[in-house]
Subunit: 329 residues, 2 copies
């Protein structure tokens, strides 16, 4: 295993400490228990947004803490759910009179721990569960996984909370964004979890894993490596089947890298995906390309599409000042 | 070779086309010859900044085109210098009455082609050569290479040009930033150039390449893989020997990923590097962590330090609106 680390046991804390130091104007890092909260004071009565999940997906979620997005993020160990005490401590630190909205990716451990925290929390609170991965069927036993679409929920609800939407409105908006969003990914290599020290799964030199999860979960099928156009058709068709955007439907197209795929390739994928929907008359009016929801050092990418309307566009465009997304501030 | 491509021959054009589509509010992509220019109209009389170099280092330079930074970028084929006709066409497109400043990384092909373009250009022009890689001695036969410090020159001179600095002032400022900047990198793996189809060099599972270049040039020494703290001490000491920042010297600390190293590790490296200079009383007052000057899919990183003063801090903080760096606009 070739990584820049000192010790598997201290990796997360050392990394979070470096992150907080590099972005000391935006975030504060609390160590016991671990959470990252925004520094800029929120308006009194603002709904406080908290997300979290296993680490290894950076910049998700810590990189999205700041004005216009999350109030706090609770990082678990790598690919491991954060614990309820982290969520409770974060909630106590950022609760500001408007209640707490938990934004939770749909994984059993995350869901359970955020539910425990919600039950113990004494202030008004609600949750949004993100489940945008269409590689699994809608009626899958534990539901679909939350992947790169989580960023969209966090950005859009973050903007609404900033301008005064109440807890119920934030929750409803988050659910609306989740419903309007579909993602699917493909891996060219496995990631290597530091504590394991070797790739999570093996892929031959001429294979790719279609419908892969962001924790190195194997996908629905292992296919022979194909040309980029064919790969994009496969991914985009799965999303299109689900969201069925009509002609002139405004959408946001997000191409997300899993960590080890160069921007050169991500932009090529973006161009092909844009052409797929442009051919169908869909109106791509917002875009995001880069490594936002990663899977450590996995080579691969995902495509996310969100159906937009005027309200969602306004919230997407609203000012945001975080380590990983910044505009208008 | 596992990459998202259709064809090695069309990879660059497909990628640039996707890049320009994703950032159509910031850049325009000209195809014959290839260059990317900013869309936002520059003030009449503004010095126009043009950079360029081989592709494969994205977001450098195309991702730095826009308000407050570059007026145009000329991408060559992967790891191959752009040609004078690209530079001339870009210059004609963005010249705005203030002359042209070429920002050139110090590689023989880039230097030669930018010199040819400068000679053919009929408007006033000047050049800044960036040579921040301290892994080579100062008296190296072809001079030191330009690496991640190039971003600093482009950002700071871009801000000065935006507020009216003339051609001579921009050139002098660029040279001053170059003198105040030192970088050095380490690779854990080689990159794979698409046209070659296999890694440029081989490293054993327990080796790292210290002082590596951004084109997969082998470094000064192949060393056994060490703990992160030891690696950072090695890199930071080489920079410190060169720049010799005194106590209370304000600096910018930039940790740059080569493409396949996760943010989790880059932030850990940042924390260790910050501690190195904080211990010496150096004042880290600006930071940048992420994949900015990459080497395709190489795992590795570089550290860059720039001695700052009030003027450089003001220009660093000035508004910038590009695909890869954005604040204040």
């Amino acid at each position: 295993m070739k990584k820049f680390i000192n010790n598997v046991d201290t990796l997360l804390e050392e990394s979070l400490s470096g992150f907080a130091k590099a972005h000391a104007d935006i975030v504060h890092y609390n160590t016991q228990p671990h959470f990252v909260r925004r520094i800029q004071t929120a308006r009194a009565g603002k709904v406080a947004l908290i997300s979290g999940g296993g680490s290894g997906h950076e910049p998700l979620h810590t990189g999205f803490v700041g004005e216009g997005m999350l109030d706090a993020a609770c990082p678990g160990q790598i690919f491991t759910s954060p614990t309820p005490d982290q969520m409770l401590a974060a909630a106590q630190a950022v609760e500001n009179g408007g209640g707490i909205l938990f934004i939770v990716k749909n994984y059993a451990g995350d869901v359970m721990n955020f539910e425990i925290a919600a039950e113990m929390l004494e202030c008004p609170n609600a949750s949004v569960r993100v489940a945008d991965d269409v590689s699994l069927p809608k009626n899958h036993s534990t539901g679909r996984r939350g992947v790169a679409g989580t960023l969209l929920v966090e950005k859009i609800v973050g903007a609404a909370a900033e301008v005064g939407a109440d807890l119920a409105a934030c929750q409803a908006l988050g659910e609306r964004v989740n419903e309007a969003t579909a993602s699917i990914g493909v891996a060219l290599t496995s990631c290597t979890v530091p504590a394991l020290g070797k790739p999570t799964f093996d892929l031959a030199g001429n294979e790719m894993e279609m419908g892969v999860g962001i924790h190195g979960e194997r996908g629905l099928e292992t296919l022979p490596l194909a040309a980029a156009t064919e790969i994009v058709e496969h991914l985009a068709q799965a999303i299109d089947n689900e969201l069925a955007p009509e002609k002139n439907q405004p959408v946001l197209l997000h191409v997300n890298g899993f960590g080890a795929t160069p921007l050169l390739e991500l932009h090529l994928i973006y161009g092909l995906a844009a052409r797929f929907w442009e051919k169908r008359g869909v109106k791509i009016c917002r875009s995001l390309v880069g490594n936002y929801t990663t899977s450590l050092d996995m080579a691969g990418c995902s495509i996310t599409l969100t159906r937009l309307d005027d309200e969602l566009i306004r919230f997407w465009d609203a000012p945001v000042h975080t380590a990983a997304l910044r505009w208008g501030c």
